[in-house]
């Protein structure tokens, strides 16, 4: 018996219930089916044995453990009507077999449909996993051979032909091509890739043959990480659920108490017959199933997080969704977030050769983006980079070292407290800063010998993304270690409201706190590695990904693509998902708060009552409508995503 699926049980029970349905419809015409009571007894008994018995068993097992649940309600409702009808038949009273039968049929229908939709909702994740290639062409003993995906190892050379999928993450060693990365980044435009660029497993190679070295395989690949992250998000809780958790513990026993009261009040005080009172009580029990309440949050979370993952937006959990709906301020890091993050040297003031030689030699060991810009320029100018001694990095300010035996320094004006700056140089600096260029001072032997101006341009998409955020009523703030003038110039280019400049990396988190103390709900957008403290301090941390590393640990939201439009998408989908959760909960609660009084016969004088059969139908409909409403999240319009329209 336990082998039958819910949908099969539903069909068997439904067919068996047809004679009772016919009788019900014929009732107004005063036609009685010959031998109806016997037909009803036999069919209902079979329905009970096949379909209602599992609910009874489950309810009894739960009862023994002092707990009650939806099954308890179904079991009480069906058994009361069924056993009463047998008693009524023996004693020659009217029977109510159809109530027992139809309640069972509708509950099963609700269960079966909900199961089906639940499967649909969780399917999205499986689809994500199925994106992976099944095998790979790997270099073995000087030849490329096809091997199954799970045998690919880090360091293997893999060849991918046009139209094929990239099997694992890696770095191109040969060839040029364009890749369709839409499945991981949500970006529909193909991306050009050449030697040295990184490729992501499961993306599709468009037009060139490439060979690449595998850097990440198995559970380390980006796709695998995305799947793990989404899985966790789907099973997570939203704080709003605490309400339903509390309700669910007391809900079912409370409903049974209401049903008992309904019976007593109707029979003892309002003069109803015992049978009428019983039907009211059964209706109360049947309509009150808390299914919809329990399904409201998990199904919406499941659909919302999977949908956003497809757009390159990874949401960690339900709590993040809830936080997003209260945001009023978005703080951006400048370098690499608003700007491209690949600064270039634009001007050199002073003796070009000497200035570059000193600066490049000192910065050679540094990993700062400005440093690499200087070193790059020096190499392009064929300037020799010398070894320096006594190297010392001053956090957020610059570097000091001995260059040819002389004290040299390279950095911002914060490093130059005890060094004289000539009027001419400082005029030049102001002029360049007004052009949104970052100034690096180069000092030698206690004297400033020149300036290097470096510019980092805003990303093409930044301006559009920021204006979209402003349309949504959010205040935008830029947080940067850069000089006020430079920061302001960049901010004006992209339309940022407020600039907080000259902030040391370690002070970023404190600046976020300041904004929070002023009563703001703050999201911080930055890269996952350098900005980890600020990301975790903010109410919502949005980490921008780059390449194949998704900074899983920092940030409540991770953007796979290094593009600010992802922030707009992330906020949009989070809000839509959370609103859907609220809508679902509202529906579910309304259903019960209105349904129970109607079923109890409170509105009898208005002619509004619910027989147990209709109560069961309404209950089944409520769970199905909640799941359906969650599935609709797949179709809502999100900024920059056309999937809903296809």
């Amino acid at each position: 018996m336990t082998k039958l699926s819910n949908i099969k049980r539903f069909w068997i029970s439904f067919i068996l219930a047809i004679p009772m349905l016919v009788q019900m419809l014929a009732m107004p015409f005063h036609w009685m089916m010959p031998g109806y009571n016997w037909i009803a007894l036999v069919t209902t008994t079979i329905i009970m044995a096949i379909s209602a018995l599992p609910y009874w068993q489950s309810a009894i097992a739960a009862f023994k453990k002092h707990s009650a649940n939806m099954n308890t309600l179904v079991a009480v409702g069906t058994s009361v009507t069924y056993f009463y009808s047998i008693f009524a038949m023996i004693t020659g009273r009217p029977v109510y077999f159809e109530s027992a039968a139809f309640v069972t049929v509708f509950v099963l229908l609700g269960d079966a449909m909900e199961e089906k939709m639940h499967d649909n909702a969780s399917n999205a994740l499986e689809k994500l996993m199925n994106l992976q290639a099944k095998d790979a062409e790997v270099m073995r003993d000087g030849k490329f051979v096809k091997i199954p995906l799970d045998q690919v190892q880090v360091g293997d050379l893999i060849r991918v032909k046009p139209g094929e999928k990239i099997p694992v993450d890696g770095e191109i060693t040969e060839g040029t091509t364009t890749l369709d990365e839409s499945m991981v980044t949500g970006e529909s435009m193909p991306v050009t890739k050449k030697v040295g660029d990184s490729v992501v497993g499961s993306t599709i190679n468009n037009n060139g043959t490439i060979t690449f070295k595998a850097t990440k395989v198995g559970s380390d690949t980006m796709l695998a990480q995305i799947v793990t992250l989404v899985k966790k998000a789907q099973t997570s809780h939203a704080p709003i659920q605490n309400l339903t958790d509390k309700i669910s513990n007391i809900f079912v026993p409370a409903v049974i108490i209401i049903a008992v009261l309904t019976f007593v009040i109707w029979y003892a005080f309002l003069g109803a017959s015992p049978v009428e009172a019983m039907l009211f009580a059964v209706s109360v029990i049947v309509i009150a199933c808390p299914c919809a309440l329990g399904l409201a949050t998990p199904t919406a979370l499941m659909v919302g997080t999977a949908r956003s993952a497809k757009m390159g937006v990874l949401i960690k959990n339900g709590e993040v969704l809830q936080e997003v709906s209260d945001l009023n301020t978005v703080v951006f890091d400048k370098t690499g977030t608003i700007t491209v993050g690949k600064p270039k040297v634009t001007d050199i003031v002073g003796d070009k050769k000497t200035v570059l030689a000193v600066a490049a030699s000192l910065e050679d060991a540094s990993e700062h983006p400005l440093a690499s810009a200087i070193v790059k320029r020096a190499k392009a100018e064929k300037i020799e980079i010398k070894k320096v001694e006594a190297f010392e990095a001053v956090e957020g300010k610059g570097v000091k070292a001995k260059f040819n035996g002389q004290t040299a320094l390279v950095g911002s004006n914060r490093l130059l407290d005890d060094v004289n700056i000539s009027q001419e140089i400082s005029d030049q600096a102001s002029k360049l800063q007004a052009e949104a260029k970052t100034i690096v001072y180069v000092g030698l032997n206690g004297k400033i010998i020149g300036l290097i101006a470096i510019q980092d341009v805003p990303k093409e998409s930044s301006k559009a993304a920021i204006s979209e955020l402003k349309v949504r009523g959010l205040k935008t703030v830029m947080l940067t270690g850069d000089n006020e003038k430079v920061a302001r110039a960049i901010a004006d280019q992209v339309g940022i409201d407020q600039v907080i400049a000259g902030v040391l990396p370690s002070e970023k988190a404190a600046e976020i706190e300041k904004l929070q103390h002023a009563g703001n709900k703050v999201a911080f957008v930055g890269d996952g590695i350098n900005d980890a403290p600020a990301l975790s301090t903010a109410d919502v941390g949005i980490a921008m990904g780059s390449g194949t590393d998704i900074a899983i640990d920092s940030g409540g939201i991770v953007l796979v693509q290094n593009d600010l439009r992802g922030v707009v998408r992330a906020l949009d989908i989070s809000k839509k998902t959370f609103n859907r959760i609220k809508l679902n909960l509202f529906w579910a609660l309304i259903y019960n708060t209105i349904g129970i009084p109607i079923a109890a016969g409170l509105f009898m004088q208005l002619g509004l009552t619910l027989s147990p059969e209709f109560a069961a139908l309404a209950m089944a409909f409520s769970s199905v409508s909640v799941v359906g409403s969650s599935l609709l999240l797949n179709k809502t319009k999100i900024a920059g995503d056309d999937a809903a329209l296809n």
Binding site: Q57, I60, K232, T235, S248, V252
Partner: protein
């Protein structure tokens, strides 16, 4: 008021009292322990109208699996969800579903059915 009605009121009130005592009163919960075989500890939870036992204690440091033995055929308990572990398993696909529990550090992992109506926990200590 007839005797039948008075009796109904009394029985109804007694029934309500019983429901309150039975479901809301303090009752002892069963706690299960794991068995260790070949450096792998196993614990079985029977799923039938709830989880029995609903609390399982595992030993720290030994790889562990919790087996869910599905004996309930209603939709209510068809999934088991471990929120902290990102696990959401369909229990109806096979009779016994095993869930690996990390035991490298002490802690409590809560689990619940798909609708968050039934709860249980695995304690590692």
């Amino acid at each position: 008021m007839t005797i039948a009605k008075i009796l109904t009121i009394i029985i109804g009130l007694l029934l309500i009292g019983f429901i309150i005592w039975w479901f809301f009163g303090k009752h002892k919960e069963a706690v299960g322990n794991s068995t260790v075989v070949n450096d792998l500890q196993n614990a079985t939870i029977v799923v039938k109208g709830g989880y029995s036992p609903s609390t399982v204690v595992l030993k720290k440091g030994i790889p562990a699996e919790v087996n869910f033995d599905m004996q309930d055929s209603t939709a209510c308990l068809s999934h088991v969800v471990f929120e902290q572990l990102g696990v959401n398993e369909d229990l109806t696909k096979q009779k016994i579903t095993s869930v690996k529990i990390p035991t490298d550090k002490a802690g409590t992992y809560n689990f619940a059915c798909g609708m968050d109506m039934f709860h249980g926990k695995v304690i590692v200590k």
